[in-house]
Amino acid sequence: MTTTTAPTTTTVLDASDVTMRFGGLTAVRSVDLVVNSGEIVGLIGPNGAGKTTFFNCLTGLYVPTEGKVAYKGTVLPPKPHLVTQAGIARTFQNIRLFANMTVLENVLVGRHTRTKEGLWSALLRLPGFKRAEQESRERAMELLEFTGLAAKADHLARNLPYGEQRKLEIARALASEPGLLLLDEPTAGMNPQETRAAEELIFAIRDKGIAVLVIEHDIRFIMNLCDRVAVLVQGEKIVEGPAEVVQADERVIAAYLGTPFEGAPGQEEAAEVEAAEAHSTTEGDDK
């Protein structure tokens, strides 16, 4: 599986046979997934399909019951900080910022693995300390500019509006200089304009040479964004391929609209879109 598909692209992520069982429940069942450099790959599936669990297995938050995860050819130990050190960064479905730290501090924490200054250096203010601190700050500010949060650098993370909290999570993840970024529902709760902006942001991230694996329920978003889409249903990967192909696949349609899930996800989404649209029109009236 480590062979490259084209001479210019390399395999960034290679997860093979990942299985995660919680007691009797198999949340993820021997899933294989490859992400190549320069790719944006989508991961979709109904609620409870095991997408987040799969992410947790990739990032070492869960130790997979079976299977292994390799990043650029080396197998990763299931320890979150080592995974991040190796070059995989992530965001969370339910935003997990350091709520009582400032926006800038949040991003600086993201730089943790890329800086070396230890306690002695801090206590004795050794020569390298000031320079490293300054450099980190500059890098962090660059990322805040990139995500459009520079003006709010000194705000507490908890005081940002929802959409900006999501952006900050992305900035924080980027601060660890990853080669692969995992995004867990980055547009959940966003209105259509914000979703558009998020798309632009993800394209810009890809253009920086960072591969992206994204979980999302918004099909339009996935269609616009992804080179390739994998579908997870009840822990199993049932289809993988270009977005248009996957969307037309009848097994996928059955999974979303078929008997076990009668209507529920679709209705929810329709309500969500409606609410978002209502919101956007009222905003438009204000202006």
Partner: protein, 609 residues
Amino acid sequence: MTTKTPTTDGTATAKADTAPATPLVPLPHAAARAITVAGSALALVGTFLAWTWTDEFPGNLTVTGYPGGLQVLTLVGAALTLLFALSGYGIRGLGWLTPGGTNSPVVLSALGVLGTTGYTMGAISQELGGLVNLEPGAWVSGIGSLVAVVGALGLPVDQPYDKDAGRPGPWGRFRHSLTAPEPGRAEELPSWAEILIIAAGFGAGLYVFAYGIGTEYSELFVGFLITAGFGFTAVTRAGLLKRLSALTAKHRNVTLAAAFVAAICFPFTQSNDQFALIGANILIFATVALGLNVVVGLAGLLDLGYVAFLGVGAYAAALVSGSPQSSIGVHFPFWAAVLTGALASLVFGVVIGAPTLRLRGDYLAIVTLGFGEIFRITMNNLNGNSGPDVTNGSNGIPNIPDLEIFGFNLGLPHNVLGHELTRSGNYYLLMLLFTAIVVLVFRRSAESRIGRAWVAIREDETAATAMGINGFRLKLLAFALGACLAGLAGTVQAHVSYSVTPEQYQFAGSVPPNSAFLLAAVILGGMGTISGPLIGAALLYLIPAKLQFMAEYQLLLFGAALMLLMRFRPEGLVADRRKQLEFHDTGQLDVPDDKPLPDGATGVAKAGA
């Protein structure tokens, strides 16, 4: 003013028809202010008259023409009230006194005068047997202060009610009259003037603190607490503290130096060795509390057995001190003893931390509580009967000799600059050096990559590890550093108190440095700050030391005080920049709930997976 602050200026409340807040006592503005001024002037004059006929009541309040004892406190409070009240007239040169609230400081200081005077009158009547023991002076001051309070409550209220809170009842209106808007931005001053203001601020702080420690009888101390408490709140409401802290934030190094100089001056204000000893003990307590603040305030690890590390340092220093009762019988020079103590604590910290830090939250608290007790019990049992003879069991290690540093014997009084520096004064200064080191360590580690990682772990450990932080290693680092700092303080403590016994290192006891009080000092003072634990420790040590008549109720009062504090000021006396925003947040956008939904229970699963 920016549009964000929804407050009106203190003086602008004349437009009473638009501002819905009404004073508690319905009086015309001019009359209220005149009454306040007259009342506090009366209270002030009263302090120059005799308050009682006999000098049996401590402090001698029988002299006419010269205030003494508790009268001085009434005098100071009345003067403060007068100044604030006059500042409200817009008198030139007094405006700087009230950049924040104009009238709530008047109410508060008037209440302070009434409290002090009323307490004094009560104490006189109670101790001498009846109101007949009060001379006219006491009545003049008492009535004056009452009139001042009534007048002050008739002054316009500093800020309107909350728009959506509705009209509060009388108690709510009373509490509202004690609040004030934040001061606006200060004018730029030349930096030498700002530094001078900082110096004056610390000078005043030192004076108040030294006065409190030097109070010779408990009546005076109670009066001091009342006056200082109300006075401090009044100064805060007036916005002066905000102004000062803005300056200290601007000149941080100057502030640190000024605080240090003020602290050095303290033993020179005390001629009584007993009071200097209180100072030295406060410093020990405060230093250990600051060390605990690394563990609790920064890394968020609730350690209920922290005092054991102080004990390890003290025992280590005692064993190598050359005490005839030490089972080792060596006599290290002080620097080596300090290293031994700090190193022993460090090792102990790592040994305890390595297994326990894998637990989170409440479990960690319980296990550290257990280890703290294990330390004490072990020291008790290493007595030759239940175990090898190392520590003399419950007798501890007495007769620890005084230190001699560069031929300077800390046990003997020395004459420095014409002032007799007593034994406790010497140790105070030595301890101050250690406090300074701990302050420096705290500040530098907090403002670094390591400190940020600690705070990140405190905020959300799962997210922190997902950002590449090795949670266990950094928690162990915080634990070990905290232990090491406590060990440092322990080495001095062993010498100050002549002996170390296991009973000094309990979880909860009546003499301060114990785990419960340490934690209380950190929480009361303000987690994650430098000055918070120092102030918290000073209060928690001083109040029981000065009010020994209520020793039996000490823990009860302590609990009540903590509960009140958590109700009214959950961020502690000194608010961390973050904490302040956290607890008193205003005007911010749609903030999601603190912890949304557990993310597929990632945290739980980590342990179970």
